[in-house]
């Protein structure tokens, strides 16, 4: 890849992270947590995006980010209060910023009016208080002296020339990011007169020299009328990538008046109980002129907290690495092999009858534990928290709430729950759809809510939690709940169910997942665009997940998604069919049963149904269907698995025997062969042989005569 392209990609990846930070920060500010740390994090996010965008000449992005940043800076310095109205604007600005990033990355049209509108709005917020004198910055400096009753003259640093001694020692990261000392020094020299001295004492002998290490450091003396913050601003972009130590030395006053150095220190410690006593103690100690003085302006400088933060961020950056996904996948494959091999080894040792040897069996057990541990750790690499996904949803909620005129609050829980990256990626669309539904169909308008005795603000709760090896994601609203009689009426009207159908509450709720069902009486442009819950259900099923609804009329509905943590392994039931071993995905199986005589009926020349609790379900002989045997087996001789297919239809699959229930590693059949109808993928069992994983939907489709092109390809 073109190196520039690679850098660009990294920039956009980082943008995504920054946008996430930004949104989280803004949301917690909206909740009232406007502490320095949060505000700084938000500011940094916008600032980094602006910096990067500048490097790639993304002017629109820079322009917008700049206005955004200016407003944030006002909040940061306390000139603007994070009032609710302002926060709302900020959140919208974050959305626009995200869109601008997306447009800059993928190309495409962007409505400049949107950004201009917000630029105007942001300037409106930040412009008004700007007129006030910048009192807040001056105040803390002046106040303590007044309180202490000291002569202000002694500490007046004034607008005259100040001398700064700057110690600058770049870390290797600074060079790695393409920064350069020369440029920084040139920048410094613009502020005043500068003399620079390069320290070469640390440069090792050539034999010991590491080319990518940083050995040089610089000591610069700057005489300038600028304040410390301006000098520090020069190093803004290398913050955290260098050891920087800027000392302001007042060359005219300091040497003669050493005792006065105590003053700034006392002033810095705002809570000092007795300044006079403190001063005495300090005065009796041997003073170190430049250091004590330096500490004072630095504490006052607004950049200080940011600097500490940046240090933290630097540390965090060192704790993570970006790894090519292919490499991770290769590792996961290899570990899959390891698991299979370990199972094979165990089986062979058992067959060889060596189990009596205690040390061998202990060794095997240890190996098994180790392989499981390795597998789990490797899977954890691909796992990512659902947080970014949830963050995207808060935006969806905002947009829909605006469009529908509803007052909605999104509450998220368990954002830290980790799921496989692919699952997260493929969850975005269904989740968006369900969130839209919850706001559009689930929640009532404010008037209706008040009439029902509920607070006018509706709540959508999005939560994630790990539950017995799966992740459960719930989308709950406190709206009106599902009107079952209406659902049933619509289903009958659309011919989805017969008019005289007797359905349980759960069955009625599940009608929502039927293709062609939409409860919205008028098709809005938000939900009900023909993309129904059936699509949602299918995408969840394609991920090996299940979806269910619980609803209480007047109290709201909850959609629960139960998803596997990874797509590399699958929980399956190992069954025997006509001497072949097959694996049936566990998520498809509702129950297993042994048919009794008199429960199976013929229907037409070539079909059978089985009576289950009063209803009739098609009975499919898997062995016959897959061509493993020429004639149907006696249903009484086997076991049936009641399964649910897409569209909520039920079928009974007949197999010869159930052998085991276990987790299997998914292997692609397509890579070396091709797609086999009725088979989702392959796996390798403990005896080293390949077992095929059944695509239950395709088998049912095929049996019912429709041509099946199932989307349930587990491995590509």
């Amino acid at each position: 890849m073109d190196p520039m392209q690679a850098i660009r990609e990294t920039f956009f990846q980082e943008c995504e992270e920054q946008l996430g930070e930004l949104e989280t920060g803004l949301l917690s500010m909206q909740e009232g947590a406007a502490d320095d740390e949060t505000v700084n994090a938000v500011f940094r996010a916008v600032h980094s995006i602006k910096g990067g965008a500048g490097a790639f000449k993304l002017d629109r992005l820079v322009k917008f980010a700049h206005v955004f940043e200016t407003t944030l800076d006002k909040i940061r310095t306390g000139q603007l209060a994070p009032a609710p109205a302002l926060m709302k604007t900020m959140l919208r600005a974050a959305d626009v910023l995200a869109d601008l990033v997306a447009v800059s990355r993928d190309g495409g049209a962007f409505d400049d009016n949107r950004s201009n509108e917000l630029i105007a709005e942001l300037s409106g917020h930040s412009g008004a208080p700007q007129a006030e004198p910048q009192a807040s910055e001056e105040m803390p400096e002046a106040n303590p002296f007044a309180a202490l009753g000291w002569e202000p003259v002694t500490l007046e640093i004034g607008p005259e020339l100040k001398e700064y001694v700057i110690g600058f020692r770049p870390k290797p990261e600074l060079y790695a990011k393409g920064n350069e000392t020369t440029r920084l020094m040139r920048e410094l020299s613009r502020l005043g007169s500068l003399s620079v001295h390069c320290e070469i004492a640390d440069v090792p002998l050539l034999a010991n020299l590491e080319p990518e290490q940083s050995y040089l450091s610089w000591r610069a003396t700057l005489r300038s009328d600028q304040d410390l913050a301006t000098v520090q601003a020069v190093f803004e972009f290398v913050d955290g990538d260098c050891h920087l130590d800027i000392e302001a030395v007042d060359s005219t006053h300091l040497p003669e008046l050493p005792a006065l150095e105590i003053a700034p220190e006392v002033e810095a410690e705002e809570s000092a109980p007795d300044p006079v006593a403190e001063a005495k103690v300090a005065a009796s100690a041997t003073p170190e002129p430049p250091k004590t003085v330096a500490s004072a302006p630095e504490t006052r400088a607004p950049r200080e907290p940011a600097k500490a933060e940046a240090g933290g961020a630097g540390a965090a950056a060192q704790n993570t690495i970006r790894v090519d996904l292919d490499r991770v996948d290769r590792l996961i494959n290899l570990v899959g092999e390891l698991v299979i091999n370990q199972a094979m080894l165990t089986q062979r040792v058992l067959e060889a009858g060596a189990v009596k040897n205690a040390s061998i069996s202990t060794g095997l057990e240890d190996l098994e534990h180790l392989t499981r541990d390795i597998q789990e750790s490797v899977m954890a690499i691909r796992a990512q928290p659902v947080r970014p996904l949830f963050q995207r949803m808060s935006r969806i909620v905002r947009e829909i709430a605006d469009a529908t005129g509803k007052n909605v609050r999104l509450k998220t829980e368990g954002e830290g729950a980790e799921v496989d990256r692919t699952v997260i990626e493929r969850l975005a669309d269904p989740l968006t759809h369900m969130i839209r539904n919850a706001v559009d169909h689930g929640l009532e308008r404010p008037e209706a809510r008040i009439a029902a005795g509920k607070p006018p603000q509706g709540e959508v709760r999005l939560s994630a939690a790990h539950r017995s090896g799966r992740v459960v994601i719930e989308i709950a609203d406190d709206g009106r709940g599902i009107d079952r009689s209406k659902v049933k009426a619509i289903a009958i009207k659309k011919g989805l169910i017969p008019a005289d159908a007797l359905l349980s509450d759960v069955e009625i709720d599940n009608l929502l997942f039927l293709p062609g069902f939409s409860t919205a009486e008028t098709v809005s442009n938000i939900s009900g665009r023909g993309v129904g819950m059936d699509v949602v259900k299918r995408s969840i099923q394609a991920l090996g997940g299940r979806i269910s609804i619980t609803t209480r009329v007047g109290h709201g509905s909850t959609f629960s998604l139960s998803l596997p943590l990874t797509l590399a392994v699958l929980d399956g039931m190992v069954v025997k069919v006509a001497d072949q071993t097959l694996v049936v995905p566990l998520n498809a199986i509702l129950e297993t049963m042994k048919p009794k005589s008199g429960e199976v009926y013929g229907l037409g020349p070539d079909s059978q149904v089985i009576g289950i609790r009063g209803g009739f379900t098609p009975l499919i002989d898997v062995g016959y269907e897959l061509g493993f045997r020429a004639h149907r087996a006696d249903p009484m001789s086997g076991v049936t698995l009641l399964i649910e297919t897409e569209g909520g239809m039920r079928s009974a699959l007949m197999v010869d025997a159930i052998q085991d229930q276990r987790q299997v590693v998914i292997k692609s059949l397509e890579a070396n062969y091709g797609h086999v109808d009725g088979i989702a993928a392959a796996t390798i069992l403990g005896d080293g042989r390949i077992a095929l994983i059944l695509d239950t939907d395709a088998v049912v489709h095929r049996s019912s005569g429709r041509s099946a092109s199932s989307e349930m390809l587990l491995a590509g």
Binding site: G336, Q580, L626, F628, G674, G678, R689
Partner: protein, 155 residues
């Protein structure tokens, strides 16, 4: 020197030969990954008869083609003495079930003659050329045409 030059020009290649019944066949050795003993394969539903199924080759799902069956002979009754030639064709890896591997031969490309026009459809479809060595005729097999057509397209 002269000989090396002429060999280079002619593009000498090595072929791995094996017997099916009484006839000799060969494939380009560059496409052979390994040769291994027969292990029972897992049947694939509705696959053509010559696809014996799939086996586990160190974690890779490897389809096995019964070459005798594919070329129109009686299907092989595989025993532990039968061998699988693991060969690469395009991006896919396939296993060819044969009776036994007999030899590795060196043959200049210009010694490979076009397939004589015979009636057998299988011979025309899968044999890209023939060569004579000592008193034998060896047919060169085109690997890419061995896989079932619709599968090749699907993959």
């Amino acid at each position: 020197m002269v000989e090396i030059e002429s060999r280079a020009n002619a593009g000498a290649r090595e072929y791995i030969t094996f017997r099916i019944g009484s006839q000799y066949y060969c494939i380009d050795i560059m496409s052979v990954r390994e040769i291994r003993g027969w292990t029972p394969a897992t049947r694939l539903p509705r696959a053509p008869g010559y696809v014996r199924g799939v086996i586990n080759l160190r974690g890779v799902v490897l389809p096995i083609i019964d070459l005798a069956d594919r070329l129109g002979f009686t299907p092989t009754e595989p025993t532990a003495r039968h061998v699988i030639i693991v060969a690469q064709t395009g991006k896919q890896v396939v296993g060819l079930l044969v009776d036994a591997v007999s030899d590795i031969i060196d043959m200049a490309a210009d010694k490979v003659q076009p397939t004589p026009d015979v009636g057998s459809e299988a011979a025309r479809a899968f044999v890209v050329g023939v060569m004579a060595i000592e008193d034998r005729m060896i047919s060169l097999i085109a690997l890419e045409s061995l896989m079932p057509a619709q599968v090749g397209e699907a993959a």
